[in-house]
């Protein structure tokens, strides 16, 4: 069975569905497949953010290291993006990223993708818009979680 090209794998991901085929092609040129076993780390807080991930199967956890042990912030599952620290200096991961299940990802090398964005600002703009939407969605979800909606009920 022939391996599925990265381009096709990326095009199948819901988080990238708004990108043009040519944009997917450019991204695919910077990507490859990797598998992480449950309990292994895709990234570590403070380490160089020289890549990011598109989750194909499985689930990862964003964690923050604390004296009492890791704090689980959020989980990210299939079809979603992990990592935007590669976009901005100092290009360091803010959180640990741990595989909860056996997780298949497409790894995108960030220096490669940034160079393509610099060379083709129109592509770069479309990509940034997509990433900005992901960031906004996560911010809004985080705000709602901060409201503790499930805790506020009719006090009769």
């Amino acid at each position: 069975m022939r391996p599925i090209p990265i381009r096709e794998l990326l095009a199948d991901q819901p988080v990238l569905r708004d990108l043009e085929p040519a944009d997917i092609e450019l991204m695919a040129g910077c990507g490859h497949n990797e598998v992480f076993q449950a309990g292994t780390y895709l990234a570590r807080e403070g380490a160089p953010a020289d890549r990011f991930f598109v989750v194909r199967h499985g689930k990862v956890a964003l964690e923050l290291h604390a004296p009492t042990g890791p704090l689980l912030i959020e989980t990210i599952g299939a079809g979603d993006l992990v990592g935007w620290s590669w976009l901005f200096p100092p290009y360091r991961w803010t959180y640990d990223v741990e595989a909860i299940d056996r997780t298949r990802v497409i790894v995108i090398e960030s220096a490669c993708l940034r160079a393509k964005c610099d060379a083709d600002p129109v592509f770069g703009y479309r990509l940034m818009k997509r990433f900005a939407q992901v960031v906004v969605d996560r911010l809004q979800a985080t705000r709602f979680r901060l409201l503790d909606l499930y805790g506020n009920v009719d006090a009769r």
Binding site: L72, D101, D154
Partner: protein, 292 residues
């Protein structure tokens, strides 16, 4: 039956008939009590006197903790299916805390059932998404059971459950049984979890566009905190779900439950009678109004 059956004699020798009607509670005995979470229990009730009408999933009753007060509680299990009338109650005020303290053998007052239910049969033939957040899962439990017990009548089925933490999940053993089924997609997400939790952590909305249903042919049953309902329904409509096929259960300050007192009014609707289940097409413009 004699005309004065049930009448009681007063000290003056007169015979008075007990009042009847929707404002008079019927006595029910607590026959089971299960702790769901630290502040939430599920009680099973059986009638002491004549039973109330068989409720439809989505309807509610007014439960009266004698000597304390009355509160509207959604029905989490119907007698015809489970033998007892089940209510899942979160103790957050004087009345609901009193109801949560009830032990088997205690007697409560029940009025109802009231309001419009979910209308599950209307979803037959379509994809079904049941989405419940927090205590909002309670009125959806009968929906999930009805859909899964009649699985072949529906196309793809997804259940999405949100809670504050894993310890705040209602019906945990039952959820595990639902998750074990191969003919339904059941996902649980919590706002916060300790390390070791294997489910999702994040808002329910983050899982919506990953669900294995086709939005344009889906019927949605949605219940939870009102802000959650608004956010989720907005996202569902954005994904292509018809607002007429999104059914939401609204909570308002129900007192009389018979369209008289007006405490539960939401614009032109009396939520106790026109609701609590309404379509999102009906609810959206009303919920968009600030301070009726």
């Amino acid at each position: 039956m004699p005309a004065d059956a049930g009448a009681v004699a007063t000290s003056a020798g007169r015979r008075l008939r007990p009042p009847v009607g929707p404002m008079v509670p019927t006595r029910y005995r607590v026959v089971s009590r299960e702790r769901e979470t630290a502040d939430t229990i599920t009680i099973g009730l059986e009638p002491v006197d004549a039973p109330i009408d068989e409720p439809e999933p989505g309807q509610f009753t007014m439960l009266y903790a004698f000597g304390v007060g009355e509160a509207p509680i959604s029905i989490s299990g119907c007698p015809a299916r489970e033998g007892a009338l089940r209510h899942t109650i979160r103790g957050v005020g004087a009345t609901t805390r009193a109801l949560c303290r009830l032990e088997p053998g205690s007697v409560v007052g029940v009025r109802g059932p009231f309001g419009a239910g979910w209308g599950v049969p209307a979803a037959e033939g379509s994809d079904v998404l049941v989405l419940g957040g927090g205590i909002g899962l309670a009125p959806l439990r009968p929906v999930i059971r009805e859909v899964l017990e009649n699985r072949r009548r529906f196309d793809r089925v997804a259940v999405l459950i949100g809670a504050r933490t894993p310890a705040d999940l209602l019906f945990a053993p039952e959820i595990e049984a639902w998750r074990a089924r191969s003919d339904a997609h059941v996902a649980v997400t919590v706002d916060a979890a300790p390390r070791g939790w294997e489910g999702h952590v994040g808002l329910v909305t983050t899982l919506i566009d990953r669900l294995p249903i086709t939005p344009t042919r889906a019927t949605v049953f949605l219940c939870g905190p009102e802000v959650m309902i608004r956010v989720v329904a907005r996202d569902l409509v954005g994904a292509g779900v018809d607002a007429e096929r999104i059914f939401v259960s609204l909570e308002r300050n129900m007192h009389c439950a018979v369209r008289q007192c007006g405490h539960c009014q939401l614009g032109p609707l009396f939520i106790c009678a026109d609701g609590p289940v309404v379509t999102w097409a009906t609810a959206a413009p009303l919920l968009a109004v600030r301070r009726w």
